[in-house]
Symmetry: C2
C-alpha cells in the first residue's frame, strides 16, 4: 500500500501555516523499538464475575507453541503478558505434505479477553467496525515469515486457521511484537508509594501514557489513534511528571496551531497522515485547551520562544470564545457538540463551558501580561465580567449549586469545572464539593476524563483523603478488573458502558485515563 | 510478507539435482507486463439459462466509476472485459469529512459472474477454501493507492465497502490490472478459419494458454497455479503451434528431472516456491508423460543436447512403469490414484494406464535408438509383449471393446487410449471409435482433458468430421456459455459438475483445456 504524502486541506478556507508544520516536522520523534515475545498460551473462558464476562486463564507455556500443528478450524490465543503497541511478525511452517493450497489465516488482536472471545462480526455500534482489530490473510508460499504491515494495540493475539488443505497443517513460531513508543522509560523517576495500590496505579498510568506516546500524543493506540486537544492537555501534564518529553508536546502544539480555520479557530483534533488535516469538529472547551496547554507547557519547560510564537494562536482561542456569549455574558447554550466536557448523554454543557472559559482566561491573562500583550487588560476585565455573570445567573444560592441550561440542570460536571475555575472562595468551593459528594446529583461523571477533573477539584479544595480514596476506588477498580493500561470508559455501576454501542469498540489504553501519574506526583499524594 | 527462498525437500530420500535446477533457473522467463483497465461496470443478475445461474449485464461505462462515492454496505462490480492474470491496484479517495476511521474494503475476484454473485463463505467443497479469491483489507491512511500484493485470475472485480465511518465515503479510480505472462503474442501466427467458430475456439485456446504461461506452465492461474506433468504435455503441444516458447518447456522438463524420488520416479507435479518441491503424488501416466513430453520437445525443437541430458530420466520412467506389471504383463490395477486418466469417479484405470505405457514406449524406443541407448532393444521387445498382452487379456473381441479391471469395465477412456497407443490396425481403430460413438458406454469423458484425447483419437483414425463437430460442440459450448478462456471442467449434461464439491472452486482458465489450438493447427482442420 502506497500513500501520497501531502497536506490535505479539510476546508478551502484553511491555510496551513507552513513554518509551523516545518517546525513540527523537525520535532518528529524517533520511535523506540523493542521486541516482545508472547509469554504464554491462554484460554479465554466465560466468567460472569470478569469484566465483559470473559477471563483469560493460562493454558500452556509459550515454548509449547512451535511443536504444535494447526489445521482447518484450529485456533490458539497467545498472551503477550502486558499491553503492547507495535508490529507483529511470525514464522509459519507447513507440516505434512508440501502445501498444495494457500494458507488462509485470521488474526484477531485484543486489548481485553472479550475481543478474542466474542465474534467481532457481532459488533453493531455506530462508530466504524473498521477499528476492530482483525485481519484475514492468504499466504501463497510456505514456510514464510509473516510481517503484518499495520500497527496493533493488544495483549492477546488469536491465530485461527481458516483453511490449509487436507494435505498439510501449519506450525507457528517466533511470534514477535516490535513495540514502538516515543516515551523513554529511562526518564521516569520510579515512584514507590507507601500505599502499594497507589504505586500500582502510578505504574499502570505510566504504561498507559507510554503506549499512547507515538509520533504524536495519540488518544488511543487502538482507537482513534489521533491527536485530540483535550487528551493532549492531560497527557502533557502526566508527561511533565514522568517522561519529560517536552519536544513531543511542543510538536503537538505547533501541529494544532498550523491548521486553524478561516477565523483562526483551533480544531478539536488532527489527523497526521497522509498530511496534517484539521478535523471538522470544533469544541469550545477543546479550542480553549490550546491556551491552557500552552500555559502548562511554558510553566514546565520555560520555553519562552515557543510561547511567543504560539501566543497569537492561544490568544485567538480566548477571543473567539468571548464572541460566544449571550446577552447575560454567559457562554451560549448549544445543542450537542458545542463543547465536549463529558460523554453523559443528558449533560447540559453551558455552565461547564462557561467555567472552562474562565479557567482558560485565568491562564491567558498572566501569559498576556508576561508577553506585554495589549489584550492583557481587556482579558482581565472580561474575566471579571464572566465571573460576575456566573454568580448572577448560574449560581443557585438556594440549592447551593451551579446550574446549567434552560432546565437549570445540576450536574457534577458544572460543579467540578467551577471549582477548577476557582470562581468561589476556596472554602466555599470545598463546601460545594462536599455538598456534591453528599447529594450526588443524577448527571454524574461517565469517563475517566471527568473523573480526573473530579479528583483534581477535590485536591484543589484540600479534600485530599476523599480524592485519594476515590482515585483508588476508580482506577484501582480498573486494575482489579484486569486493566494492564487504563481504559477509555469505566463506569463502576455499569461496566459494559460504551457511548458507541458496544464495549468491543472501546479503547482499553486511553490517554485521558493516564492522569493518576500526574495527580499522585504533582500533588505529592 | 517475506519468504525464505530455499529448496525445500519433500522427502529426505529426494536428492535434488543441482545442475538441473541451475539450468532451469537460467531458463526462467522474464514476464511480459501490460496494464489493463476495467472496461465497464456491470450488474450480475440471476438467469436460469446462464451458466451457474448468473449473468453479467452492462450497468454503466467505466468512466462513471470515479465520480461515484461508496459508503458502508455499498458495492460495485467492475468488468475487465476479458480474462486477466495479474496484479491489481487502485486509487481510493475519501469523500466528505477527513477519514476518522480506517476503510475496510472487501475485494472479490471472479473468473465467472457466479464468483462475484454467490457468497464464497457458502463454499463447502473438499479442497481448500483458501483458493477462493477474496481479500478483506483495512486501509489506515486515505487517499492512497492500494497495490494488492497477490496475483489474481479474474475478469470481474467486486469492490465492497464493509465500513468507512459516518463522516466519510470513498471513491475509486484508476483500477488497473498489471497482467503477466511468459507468452509473447507476437509469436503467434493468427489463424483465420473458414469456420468462424473454429477461429473463435482457436482464439480462446490461445488466450487460455497465454494466461497459464507464467514462471512455468501453470495448470490454472486461479487454481492450482503449479506445474503438472499431464497439463505440461498438452500445453507444450499447443505452445509449439502458437507461442513457440521452447525454453519454457525445456525449463519445466529440467524442473521435473531435478527432483526425482529415491527410485528415480518423476512426480506428477511440482511446487516452485519457496524452492523446487516435488509433490508426494505420483501417477503412472503422468510419470510416463515425462518421456512423451521430452519426445515431443525434441521433435519440435531438435534440441539434442537437452534430449541427451534428460534421456536418463525419461528412460527411468519407462523402466519403473515396466516394474508395475502383473503376471499377465498387464499394468497392475490399483485403487484410487495409481494413474490419473480422468476425473470420472467410476472409471477403472487399468486398461488406460496399460495403453499409456504402450503409447510412451512407442516414443521412448525411437529416442533410445537415436541416442544409441542400450535399452532400445529391450524396450522394443517389452513393447511387443505389452501389445500382445493387451490383445490377449484386455481386448474383448465379442463386445468389440477394450475392458478394464476385474469388472471388465468398458469405458470411453480405455478405447480412446488404446486408439492413441495405436495397438489395433488403423481401420480397426476407426471401427472401434465408431462403435464407441454409437454405443456410448456409461463411463464417459468428464473433463476437457479427456475430451482432448477423444478428439485426437478421432483425428488419428480419420474421423475428421466427427472430431470437428465434437470439438465445436464441446469447446463451442463453453464459448456459448460465456467462456473467455477454457474451463477446467465442462460437462454439457451437468454444467454445475465439480469434482471438488462446488463450481465456485473450479478453475475457469485451465491449461488442459487449451488444446484446440494444437488440434486445429497441427491437424490443419
Amino acid at each position: 500500500m502506497a500513500n501520497d504524502r501531502e497536506t490535505y486541506e479539510s476546508s478551502p478556507a484553511v491555510v496551513p501555516k507552513r513554518s509551523f508544520i516545518e517546525q513540527a516536522e523537525r520535532l518528529k520523534p524517533v520511535l523506540l523499538q523493542r521486541d516482545e515475545e508472547a509469554r504464554q498460551n491462554v484460554e479465554v473462558v466465560p466468567d460472569e464475575r470478569a469484566i465483559h464476562g470473559w477471563r483469560a486463564i493460562a493454558a500452556s507455556s509459550a515454548d509449547t507453541l512451535a511443536p504444535q500443528s494447526f489445521g482447518k478450524g484450529d485456533a490458539v490465543i497467545l498472551d503477550f503478558g502486558d499491553h503492547r503497541v507495535g508490529y507483529v511478525s511470525l514464522d509459519v511452517k507447513p507440516v505434512g505434505s508440501p502445501p498444495d493450497a494457500p494458507l488462509r489465516l485470521k488474526l484477531t488482536f485484543g486489548e481485553m479477553p472479550v475481543e478474542v472471545a466474542e465474534p467481532l462480526a457481532n459488533y453493531n455500534g455506530w462508530i466504524s467496525s473498521s477499528w476492530l482489530q482483525e485481519e484475514t490473510i492468504t499466504v501463497d508460499v510456505l514456510p514464510c515469515r509473516i510481517e503484518m504491515p499495520r500497527r496493533y494495540s493488544f495483549r492477546y493475539l488469536k491465530l485461527e486457521v481458516l483453511d490449509t488443505s487436507r494435505k498439510y497443517r501449519v506450525a507457528f513460531d517466533r511470534v514477535l511484537c516490535r513495540t514502538v513508543t516515543s516515551a523513554d522509560p529511562a526518564q521516569v523517576v520510579p515512584l514507590v508509594h507507601a500505599d502499594p495500590l497507589l504505586t500500582e496505579i502510578d505504574r499502570v498510568s505510566v504504561r498507559t501514557l507510554e503506549d499512547c506516546m507515538q509520533d504524536v500524543f495519540e488518544d488511543g493506540p487502538k482507537r482513534d489513534r489521533r491527536l485530540w486537544l483535550g487528551d493532549l492537555r492531560l497527557q502533557a501534564l502526566a508527561n511533565y511528571e514522568t517522561f519529560r518529553n517536552y519536544d513531543l508536546v511542543k510538536r503537538c502544539l505547533y501541529l494544532f496551531a498550523s491548521v486553524p480555520d478561516e477565523r483562526g479557530r483551533v480544531t478539536s483534533n488532527l489527523f497526521i497522515e497522509p498530511g496534517i488535516i484539521a478535523d471538522d469538529t470544533y469544541f469550545l472547551d477543546y479550542s480553549l485547551f490550546f491556551t491552557t496547554a500552552l500555559h502548562d507547557y511554558f510553566r514546565a519547560s520555560e520555553d519562552k520562544a515557543t510561547l511567543q510564537e504560539l501566543w497569537p494562536t492561544a490568544r485567538r482561542q480566548a477571543e473567539l470564545a468571548l464572541e460566544c456569549l449571550d446577552e447575560r455574558n454567559i457562554v451560549m447554550d448549544r445543542e450537542g457538540w458545542g463543547a465536549f466536557i463529558d460523554w453523559h448523554p443528558k449533560l447540559n454543557k453551558q455552565a461547564s463551558a462557561h467555567a472552562v472559559l474562565i479557567y482558560a482566561l485565568k491562564r491567558a491573562v498572566p501569559l498576556a501580561e508576561l508577553l506585554g500583550c495589549e489584550s492583557a487588560p481587556r482579558f482581565a476585565e472580561r474575566l471579571k465580567a464572566l465571573e460576575a455573570a456566573a454568580m448572577a445567573d448560574l449560581w443557585d444560592a438556594e440549592r447551593g449549586f451551579f446550574v446549567s441550561g434552560p432546565e437549570r440542570q445540576v450536574s457534577w460536571a458544572s460543579q467540578i469545572w467551577f471549582v477548577l475555575a476557582e470562581v468561589l472562595p476556596k472554602e466555599d468551593s470545598r463546601l460545594l464539593m462536599l455538598r456534591l459528594l453528599a447529594e450526588r446529583p443524577q448527571v454524574g461523571p461517565t469517563t475517566p476524563y471527568m473523573y480526573h477533573h473530579l479528583i483534581e477539584a477535590l485536591l484543589l479544595t484540600g479534600l485530599k483523603e476523599e480524592a485519594v480514596s476515590r482515585m483508588k476506588a476508580y482506577w484501582g477498580g480498573m486494575i482489579a478488573d484486569g486493566a494492564d493500561t487504563f481504559w477509555e470508559l469505566y463506569d463502576p455501576e455499569n461496566k459494559s458502558f460504551s457511548p458507541y454501542g458496544s464495549y468491543l469498540i472501546n479503547s482499553y489504553c486511553h490517554a485521558w485515563s493516564c492522569t493518576p501519574a500526574y495527580l499522585i506526583r504533582h500533588y505529592r499524594l
